[in-house]
């Protein structure tokens, strides 16, 4: 499989190693549109012949760090993978830990997780769209998306107490209950967002200048996307209907109705429009969550009864669970567990191995950006140099997530 995918990649390259006639440009790490990484772009005339994504510039040894601390502390650590999408990045870890601990979260907690996951997804897509906008030097799209993202960060803050590093899901449940009046405030935000999505369509996606930059550029065919193992909106824009929310049973997604937006074109425009459609779907999911939200505890009975009676009573009354002290030394039963979740960027996969101590023996994480980074080598050759930022923007690639 590996050799097969590397064959596909090299089949697209227009450049042989050691060819010195190509004009070599080092894009990044200090460059307006490189992000935290370096791309070695080789040009012949105005045509890209090869791109080497030089990954690892923001590698922080996340997996190794997670081995050195108690399992519970891996949650705030691994949030830093993708700070813009931190709940989606860690909900799979929590699910894996729960599978290992055999702790079943109560239904209300699952619904609350779904709620925050979808808020995160909207914020993450807005971030990606903003960056894609500025990569075409479309400053209005950039500012609008980043400004409107604030609405969702504030909702998340209201729910969890933090704008970005929520640390909301804990094994067996969530930390806080739904605040009062959240539904009304969400409804206001959702109406605003729906209006804004129309504005985005007008200023950006239906703008002839943007369309000419995106349509037919960076086309990823269905078969290629499958062979390369692409995930997330990039995969769905190529016509493959795959979503970890359907593939794995986590949060409350099995009880909710939503569509997985798919497009057939596989070009930059399709990748962007899939994200717009996903924001609409997320709004509908949150509406359902708030309507269907069951009442009950937000932490598994198993852990709730470990709390001292006074704190337990306070927790049920106020809806705020302080981290129960027991969590700090929670012993993971020996064994292994896997879980996956759909982030804004695609599917994230966790593999937790435990030898029975409080610290995981091995914590493996495969992030969506890590799986999508191959597209940088694969898509740009044959395109104009100025297509490079357009393709980069449309991939919604996030270097810290890939580098871990």
């Amino acid at each position: 499989m590996l050799s097969m995918s590397s064959d596909i990649v090299s089949s697209k390259l227009l450049f042989r190693e050691g060819d010195e006639s190509a004009y070599e440009l080092f894009i990044g790490p200090q460059h307006p549109s490189s992000g935290h990484m370096r791309f070695i772009v080789r040009l012949r005339g105005d045509i890209i012949v090869s791109v080497d994504p030089d990954i690892g510039y923001v590698h922080r040894t996340m997996e190794k760090l997670a081995e050195g601390r108690e399992a519970i502390k891996a949650i705030p650590l691994l949030e830093r993978l993708t700070i813009i999408d931190s709940h989606n990045a860690t909900v799979a870890l929590v699910t894996a830990l729960e599978r290992l601990l055999d702790a079943e979260p109560p239904p209300r907690a699952l619904y609350l997780r779904t709620l925050l996951s979808e808020i995160n997804r909207i914020a993450s897509h807005l971030y990606g769209m903003g960056i894609a906008g500025i990569m075409l030097n479309h400053s209005t799209m950039f500012m609008w998306a980043f400004g409107d993202r604030e609405v969702w960060l504030q909702l998340a803050e209201e729910l969890t107490g933090a704008r970005l590093t929520h640390t909301y899901s804990i094994p067996g449940g969530v930390r806080r209950d739904l605040p009062q009046g959240f539904k009304e405030r969400f409804e206001k935000a959702a109406r605003y967002m729906e209006k804004r999505l129309e504005d985005y369509m007008k200023i950006f996606f239906r703008n002839p200048q943007v369309a000419s930059r995106y349509e037919g550029v960076g086309v990823l065919r269905k078969s290629e996307a499958q062979k390369l193992g692409i995930v997330g909106p990039n995969l769905r824009a190529s016509g493959v209907k795959y979503d970890a929310r359907l593939a794995d049973d986590y949060c409350a997604y099995s009880e909710l109705e939503f569509e997985v937006p798919v497009r057939e074109e596989g070009d930059c425009m399709a990748r962007m429009l899939v994200r717009v459609e996903e924001i609409r779907q997320s709004l509908s999911i949150i509406r359902q969550v708030l309507d269907k939200m069951p009442s009950g505890p937000i932490l598994a009975e198993k852990y709730l009864k470990l709390l001292p009676p006074k704190i337990r009573e306070q927790a049920t009354r106020s809806g705020h669970v302080k981290f129960p002290g027991v969590f700090a030394t929670l012993k993971l039963p020996a064994g292994e567990a896997v879980a996956r979740a759909e982030m804004g960027h695609g599917e994230i996969f966790y593999h937790v191995v435990s030898d029975g101590s409080a610290k995981p023996y091995r914590l493996r994480v495969v992030t969506p950006s890590f799986r999508n980074v191959v597209l940088f080598r694969y898509l740009p050759p044959g395109h104009r140099f100025m297509d490079f930022p357009a393709i980069y923007g449309s991939l919604d690639y996030f270097p810290p997530e890939s580098d871990r």
Binding site: S33, D46, N137, T140, M143, W144, R384, F385, M386
Partner: protein, 339 residues
């Protein structure tokens, strides 16, 4: 004796040969326009993008002096010449570019019989001087000896081929229509504003002007997202400021020319001001040109950047053809009106 000298100085200053190119609408006004238009561009974009824009310098006036503060900072910044750069062209090219950007004001009249250099060929003179700027930008990029700046220089060369020809032909089609190449006479020959006489030429000239000034959607030469700052990438301090101001100076000169050719210049002439002193009678010329500039910088809030090959294709396949059509149109109108 002393009074004579003062009188002489005042007369020298108030003569069209000095006042027009140096004070209004020339150098001094151009610098003020430069400060205000960059501020206005940022404020307009901020308004559309739900931001505040420049604010802290002169807070009571909405931060209008922000550019002056930035410029002052540029003045005191170290000017670094890279080891690998070709020193003499590296330093001379920006100066050359600035001179070429200011030179057109020597030919642009601001009121009837108030042109610095009265020439029957002032229109081609202005365009010729402006079309020499890309050469100095090319020199800047090449002498910087940086991979990004060479890319930028090559882009400048490509782009100038794409816009110069439509710009010239659409301007010359108006010259045919008016039967003169003198900017001063062109205003008199407009019974109705020129853009109504030949809308095709007006549109082509406008787009070529945006391309020439390197404003969005054609800011390809600077191309921040690909080549950082294009030809200006190695420049620091005030020379970088010149590179930044160059586009706006070019835009200002071309806006004045556009106003004269297509928007009936300084008409309606304020008689009172003209009798007081002809040099200040061009306020309508200035106001129209300024509004035009505001429109051009507003485009930044609407568009992103076209790709280089798309812009060249637009230049050659659409605007070159349109400019030729406008030429034919002008000849047609001329023939009909003569008959």
């Amino acid at each position: 004796m002393g009074i004579d000298l003062v009188n002489l100085l005042i007369r020298l200053l108030l003569s069209p040969r000095v006042f027009a190119p140096v004070v209004f609408p020339g150098l001094l006004t151009a610098l003020i326009v430069l400060l205000i238009i960059i501020w206005a561009e940022r404020k307009i974009a901020a308004r559309i993008q739900m931001r505040v824009g420049p604010l802290y310098v002169t807070r009571h006036f909405g931060g209008v002096l922000q550019m002056l503060a930035d410029g002052t900072r540029y003045m005191f910044q170290e000017f670094i010449i890279p080891e690998t750069a070709d020193r003499i062209p590296f330093v001379l090219a920006p100066v050359l570019a600035l001179v070429l950007a200011i030179l057109p004001f020597a030919f642009i009249p601001s009121a009837p019989k108030f042109a610095p250099v009265t020439s029957p060929l002032s229109l081609p003179a202005v365009l010729a001087v402006l079309s020499a700027i890309p050469i100095s930008v090319l020199l800047m990029g090449w002498s910087s000896n940086n991979k990004f700046s060479i890319q930028g220089a090559v882009r400048e060369a490509f782009m100038s081929l794409a816009y110069e020809i439509p710009l010239f032909i659409s301007a010359l089609s108006m010259a045919i229509l008016y039967g003169t190449m003198s900017l001063e006479e062109m205003v008199d020959k407009q019974p109705i504003p020129g853009f109504l006489l030949n809308p095709i030429a007006a549109f082509t000239f406008l787009v070529s002007m945006v391309m020439s000034a390197g404003k969005l959607p054609f800011d390809i030469v600077e191309g921040e997202q690909e080549i950082v700052a294009g030809p200006y990438v190695e420049y620091t301090g005030i020379i970088f400021g010149i590179g930044m101001g160059l586009a706006y100076l070019k835009l200002y000169a071309l806006s004045l020319v556009y106003t004269i050719i297509f928007l009936s210049g300084w008409e309606p002439l304020p008689e009172v001001l003209y009798r007081f002193y002809p040099g200040v009678a061009g306020i309508f010329l200035f106001a129209k040109a300024f509004l035009l500039m505001l429109f051009v910088v507003f485009l930044r809030s609407v568009y992103g950047r076209y790709r280089l090959d798309q812009a060249i294709r637009i230049g050659w396949r659409i605007y070159f053809v349109l400019s030729v059509i406008s030429l034919v149109f002008s000849v047609g109108v001329k023939v009909i009106t003569c008959v």
